[in-house]
């Protein structure tokens, strides 16, 4: 055990975890909107809209995240037309490509989580709203969405942790996130176990924090209290 390496690499790895957190928070933020949008589309009665939303979540949940990042980062740059548009400013940056891939991926999972939460809402609650003359829009925003969010908290907590682990793939498109830096240190020092313990420890700490925050929120918004 090389304890000195563990101590000296700790600040570097901790610094790299800032990028991990940035990637995570950005993709969760955008992913939540996409997830909500597609969850609502899934509940639409129109078959085409419904099928489209299902197709989106099926494709993004059925393929590895690595493929998705590679298609966006390496693949989209190949389209000549894209290079001439304003979009290219974003798509040439690995940082934004990673965020786009993560957003679309977590959006697909989030839409499934929210959809099942919407479906478990008792019809009586919506009917009660309707019979009181509440408009459909208000029923959606003030009744369905808040209940769905509460229902989906445990599953969404898991999704946040999965996504945090997913951000490690950003290292495959040259980004120096926690895993990227860990790999760099391993390949220069050939001390995989020491680096794994430090980097893994930081990841575990983040998992621990996320887990407890979700637990706290669940308690706070539980129906019984």
């Amino acid at each position: 055990m090389d304890f000195e390496l563990m101590i000296t690499s700790f600040p570097t790895l901790l610094g790299a975890s800032v990028i991990t957190l940035k990637l995570l928070s950005a993709s969760l933020f955008f992913g939540l909107f996409i997830g909500l949008l597609f969850a609502i589309l899934r509940l639409n009665k129109n078959v085409f809209i419904n099928k489209f939303a299902y197709g989106y979540s099926y494709v993004f949940r059925g393929t590895p995240l690595l493929v998705q990042i590679f298609i966006i980062y390496f693949g989209l740059g190949q389209i000549e037309y894209l290079r001439s548009t304003i979009l290219w400013v974003i798509l040439k940056e690995p940082y934004w490509c990673a965020i786009i891939a993560f957003t679309l991926n977590t959006g697909a999972y989030t839409s499934e989580i929210l959809r099942s939460a919407f479906q478990t809402i008792k019809p009586g609650i919506i009917e009660a709203g309707k019979s009181l003359g509440v408009s459909n829009k208000i029923i959606l925003y003030k009744i369905q969405i808040p209940i769905a969010i509460r229902q989906s908290l445990p599953a969404y907590g898991n999704e946040i942790i999965l996504m945090m682990k997913g951000t490690s793939l950003a290292s495959t498109v040259t980004l120096m996130d926690l895993t990227g830096v860990a790999k760099y240190i391993i390949s220069t020092t050939f001390k995989p176990i020491e680096v794994f313990i430090v980097a893994g420890g930081i990841y575990l700490f983040m998992t621990f924090v996320i887990h407890n925050v979700i637990k706290f929120l669940e308690k706070k918004y539980s129906f019984n209290s």
Partner: protein, 230 residues
């Protein structure tokens, strides 16, 4: 379509073999995962606190640390660890482990953590009376597990194991970083030499979709078989 031709002109046959490799690694990893689950599920269900701790340590660490980091640990640390063990037995030559084994073991350990959780949940949701009835009837521990607990557990575990299978299948894409030629690695090679990444990565996505779709069909059949009578 030319790009996908079989033989020397296209990448069809290479991608076909790469797909077989992905399937082979996934199945091996899943089986290794079952082995780990076989060890750690009893630990997690044990009466003894220290054994519980060991079981929880395994599942918590593996499920809380990115898969890629675990793969790097095995990729860079695998042969070192084997050589260290070999040196105890007096063997000092350089040992290189094959990428297939490194990858399968790394993914297997990850998959095992998820399988452990699935088995633990399934065993815990079997009615206590089943264990007690078996005990009262004087059924041996071995028969109790194989004839009473296991069949009931499988029914409960299969839907969740199918999720583990999906995760494992998708995780195998990560071992492309170690150089094992599976779907992802082959697409990377093809994309590099033809300068057509969009096509090859999209095609890789289609292959993965096909694999998940087909395996879901198979698992649904299994599920129907084990839930007969319910």
């Amino acid at each position: 379509m030319e790009l996908l031709a079989f033989g020397k002109t296209g990448w069809g046959d290479e991608l076909f073999y790469a797909t077989l490799m992905t399937v082979a690694v996934s199945i091996t990893a899943m089986l290794i995962g079952f082995l780990f689950a076989l060890i750690f599920t009893p630990l997690k269900l044990s009466k003894y606190k220290s054994l519980n701790l060991a079981g929880n340590f395994y599942t918590t660490v593996i499920r809380g640390v990115p898969e890629l980091l675990v793969i790097y640990l095995f990729f860079f640390g695998g042969s070192g660890a084997i050589m260290y063990v070999a040196s105890i037995f007096g063997y000092y030559e350089y040992i290189e482990i094959n990428a297939f084994i490194t990858g399968s073991v790394a993914i297997g350990i990850i998959s095992g953590a998820y399988s452990t959780e699935v088995f633990r949940g399934a065993i815990q949701s079997i009615d206590k009376g089943q264990f007690e009835a078996a005990k009262v009837l004087g059924v041996s521990k071995f028969t109790q597990f194989y004839k009473i607990i296991l069949p009931q557990m499988l029914r409960l575990a299969i839907p969740n194991l199918s999720n583990v299978w999906q995760i494992t299948l998708k995780d195998t894409s990560l071992i492309s970083v170690t150089g094992l030629v599976e779907i992802m690695r082959q697409s990377y090679i093809a994309a590099g030499s033809t300068r057509d990444p969009l096509f090859f990565y999209s095609f890789a996505a289609v292959l993965y979709l096909l694999l998940t779709y087909l395996s879901m069909k198979l698992i649904n059949k299994l599920e129907a078989k084990y839930s007969r009578g319910y």
